[in-house]
């Protein structure tokens, strides 16, 4: 064994390393994002003004949060549609709860998280312990969430406190948008989380449920908490959406349903589970929003935006698949 396999294994590993790193990390989507950002600055020189940077990140943040949440569930091999319902529910709750000032804003963050975690825990319980299919369970909670949002607020309206609307969408230290700070916090959080046992278990379960369980991982528990984390992030997404739109809308979450999955896919997270991460999804969401801006500023008619977005998405996913494939075949030699 020693004699025979060594010559094959050693060079393969060295050559595969960088490709593999590209395939496993958020590297590719970051490159795509940077390219897109350069294109944006070229076609729209005013893009670098403090105002438009702030606006860009404010627009992107709710989707980043939603995509980050969905990533937890998708990584362990599941599916979560409840994002739309949760965002709507949190959004209208904020709009009808008049709490002003910093204290009010903080209370409402807590409330948003509580709603998100509750929905997530219900999803998690149904899927992990009652063994109901994730699509069926989360479709139901999505409908319930949307229904409750309508009960709370019949039509768009309500009001969001000035503190939330102005302070949370502004900048700190003059030029650093708070939305960007929050996005960076998400990335930092994932960087830590993915290196803890909880994060590792999430990926292990996504790769091979049976092997994970035979390795001693508590699969049901891992699955449950994936939904809980997801819910918490959806809650924050609903909160930041309220800050951005400064109003409540019972159907605010609907556009997020498909965009969230698009962002996760664009980031390169595998829908079967086991590969990818929150960082990639955050950049996926950012890229998706940036793409809209680029197309808009290039004067592309909004009728074609969807078509072009879809095509770019397919190309991006093809590209990352190709890199993954290359990493795999090189690594296996």
């Amino acid at each position: 064994m020693v004699d025979a396999s060594e010559p094959f294994a050693a060079p393969g590993r060295r050559r595969g390393l960088s490709l593999r790193y590209m395939a496993d990390s958020a590297f590719l989507i970051i490159v795509i994002y940077i390219v897109m950002a350069i294109v944006y600055v070229v076609v729209q020189p005013s893009a670098l003004s403090a105002y438009s940077i702030e606006a860009l990140f404010n627009n992107s943040l709710p989707l980043m949060l939603a995509a980050a949440g969905a990533t937890f569930v998708i990584l362990q091999g599941g599916f979560d549609l409840s994002v739309a319902g949760t965002i709507s529910l949190v959004n209208v709750t904020i709009a009808v709860t008049p709490l002003d000032g910093a204290g009010g804003a903080l209370t409402l963050v807590g409330l948003s998280l509580a709603i998100g975690v509750t929905v997530g825990a219900i999803n998690g319980f149904i899927v992990a312990f009652l063994k109901i299919q994730a699509i069926a369970a989360t479709l139901a909670t999505m409908i319930i969430g949307q229904g409750l949002a309508l009960v709370i607020l019949k039509a768009p309206g309500g009001s969001v406190s000035d503190f939330i609307v102005y302070e949370l969408t502004g900048s700190v230290l003059d030029r650093l948008p708070i939305a960007l700070v929050i996005a960076l916090c998400m990335i930092a959080f994932w960087t830590l989380f993915s290196r803890l046992d909880a994060g590792r278990n999430l990926l292990a379960v996504g790769q091979d449920r049976k092997a994970a369980s035979l390795s001693g991982i508590d699969v049901a528990r891992t699955e449950f908490f994936a939904f809980v984390w997801a819910g918490a992030f959806y809650g924050l997404a609903g909160y930041m959406l309220a800050a951005q739109t400064s109003t409540g809308n019972p159907s605010a979450g609907e556009p997020f349903l498909l965009l969230t999955f698009a962002a996760v896919a664009l980031g390169g997270t595998a829908f079967g589970g086991g590969r990818g991460g929150v960082t990639a999804s955050v950049f996926g969401a950012a890229t998706l929003m940036l793409m809209q801006k680029v197309l808009f500023s290039m004067g592309v008619s909004s009728f074609y935006t969807g078509v072009i977005q879809g095509i770019i998405m397919i190309l991006a996913v093809l590209f990352s698949t190709a890199v993954q494939h290359a990493a795999k075949t090189r690594g296996a030699e």
Binding site: M1, S5, R13, S213, S215, G216
Partner: protein, 510 residues
């Protein structure tokens, strides 16, 4: 210390199927105790109950006098019971280190451990158990099966405080010396080992006593020294096993069905090969000589780099397994890892078998369970798969029966060329005989087979001629009349003139 581990009246039912019935057994401290039985005898279920994967319907177990009824793998580990599973339980896209330490990789709860700490801790475990040739930071998916199996075993060893359960630990190991050394070390500390293997010679070497299971019930516990192989077989099958006569060689060779010219794929370099109707060509090789690449290329799973493959005299592309099946006389490929590569666990055996035919024909056909059973029946019969299994979900069948399902599917495709990668790995004596009989019958009716086996005795037993791969090339071709294990082993080590292997060369094969 008697009654270290006891099981009394342990039963397990899956719906209407009785997997285990009233199992009674004892294992002593420091003993290596074999569990013998055919496929479907209940060995895997027993393993699952001991290690906490499933819970018995009835019965009681004790370990060192205390009640033993683990509710999960983690629970069993806490009681000092750990298991190396037959279908390896490693996470492919994670490092060896992480897999060794799962599920508790980090020591700290809320801040990541430095990667080098994790690697260092895993390296200590590996060193502790004499695994020196596997780097803790390589990914599992990059390792050959034999190394993965050793990782699986090492992890179990590291948790075995009272009882170690080894389910077919040598299925992918070319050599047992490392394993047996570690087992002896454990038993020296008073740990008991439950050892499940189909290789009787191994069992005799390492085990003191054996408990024979048949149809889920314990037949007897015997002292291995006091009983011969025939006695054990008859306990296992409930009758005298009729060894199928091996009259090879007399079969006349027909047309050349498959040829390769200067084939390059993966580690394979410039390989020329001819398979003729009526012959079984064995392939012998140590791990990592390119055998996987060769078999996968012929099965249409991976594309070749260069060279020609002629099927029935016609150049063929073999871009996919479906293309391979349709090429000329047809190639059916049975891969190495049936769990991941070969099977639909949630579908019935019948559906799994007829799948090939739906792939071969066009498709717009009405299907129901009855039609599937009818179609699958003849193929199932050729591999001696009992008809009652046809309605079972494949995931619930024993390993040997799963293998029969895969082979039946390969036959179902109607292909004349069978490419089998270790077709009898980890299956019991009875299933082996069925598989061998199927293979002989297949070539007698005008087909050709190329098969790789990790067991040299199997190659000697079955092959019309045997090719030995070394470094991606055919190092030797041994005719039927010259076949013996020593010659194959020596050639597999790259000795050009197949001289007799000295005993110490044997140890090199780890």
């Amino acid at each position: 210390m008697d009654n270290f581990f006891t099981a009394r009246g342990v039963s397990k039912r899956y719906g209407a199927t009785v997997a285990l019935r009233d199992v009674v057994m004892d294992i002593h401290a420091g003993e290596v105790h074999a569990i013998l039985g055919e496929n479907g005898a209940g060995k895997s279920t027993l393993v699952k109950i001991l290690s906490g994967v499933v819970q018995p319907n009835e019965g009681q177990m004790t370990l060192e006098g205390r009640n033993h009824g683990p509710s999960s793998i983690a629970d069993a580990r806490r009681m000092g019971v750990s298991t190396a599973f037959q279908e390896l339980s490693l996470i492919p896209h994670m490092t060896v280190a992480e897999n060794i330490l799962l599920p508790k990789v980090s020591l700290r709860g809320f801040w990541p451990d430095p990667k080098k700490d994790i690697v260092a801790r895993a390296a200590a475990v590996l060193r502790d158990w004499d695994v020196t040739d596997i780097s803790p930071d390589s990914l599992i998916e990059d390792l050959p099966l034999a190394q993965r199996q050793r990782i699986e075993i090492t992890r179990a060893l590291s948790h075995a405080k009272r009882l170690l359960v080894l389910d077919e630990p040598t299925a992918a190991l070319p050599d047992t010396s490392w394993l047996f050394q570690q087992i002896r070390r454990l038993t020296g500390q008073g740990v008991a080992v439950m050892y499940i293997s189909h290789r009787l010679s191994e069992v005799r070497e390492i085990c003191q006593r054996a408990t024979v299971l048949r149809n889920g019930a314990t037949i007897r516990t015997v002292d291995l020294a006091g009983v011969d192989d025939a006695g054990i077989f008859s306990m296992m099958v409930g009758r005298d096993p009729s060894e199928a006569g091996a009259d090879m060689g007399s079969a006349s060779l027909g047309d050349t069905l498959l040829q390769t010219r200067s084939l390059r794929v993966g580690a394979i370099r410039d390989l020329d090969l001819d398979l003729r109707a009526g012959e079984i060509v064995g392939v012998a090789a140590l791990e990592g000589q390119g055998q996987q690449d060769l078999f996968k290329a012929l099965g249409g799973v991976i594309p070749r780099r260069s060279g020609q493959i002629l099927v029935g005299g016609q150049e063929a592309q073999l871009g996919s397994p479906a293309a391979a099946q349709k090429a000329g006389p047809g190639i059916a490929f049975v891969p190495e890892e049936r769990k991941t590569d070969g099977i639909f666990e949630n579908l019935t055996a019948a559906t799994n078998i007829v799948m090939a035919q739906f792939a071969a024909t066009r498709g717009e056909r009405f299907v129901n369970g009855q039609i599937e059973r009818g179609l699958a029946g003849p193929s199932a019969q050729r591999v001696a798969l009992a008809p009652r299994y046809l309605d079972f979900e494949v995931g619930n069948l024993s390993g040997g029966n799963q293998q029969k399902v895969i082979l039946a599917r390969a036959l179902m495709s109607g292909a004349k060329i069978l490419i089998l990668f270790d077709p009898a790995r980890g299956v019991d004596v009875g299933t082996k005989q069925s598989i061998y009989a199927m293979m002989r019958q297949f070539v007698a009716s005008g087909g050709t087979i190329m098969f790789y086996s990790s067991e040299l005795s199997e190659l000697v037993h079955l092959s019309s001629r045997c090719l030995v791969l070394y470094g991606g090339q055919i190092a030797a071709e041994v005719a039927r009349s010259d076949l013996d294990e020593e010659r194959l082993l020596s050639a597999a080590h790259g000795h050009r003139a197949a001289v007799h292997a000295a005993p110490d060369t044997l140890k090199e094969v780890s």
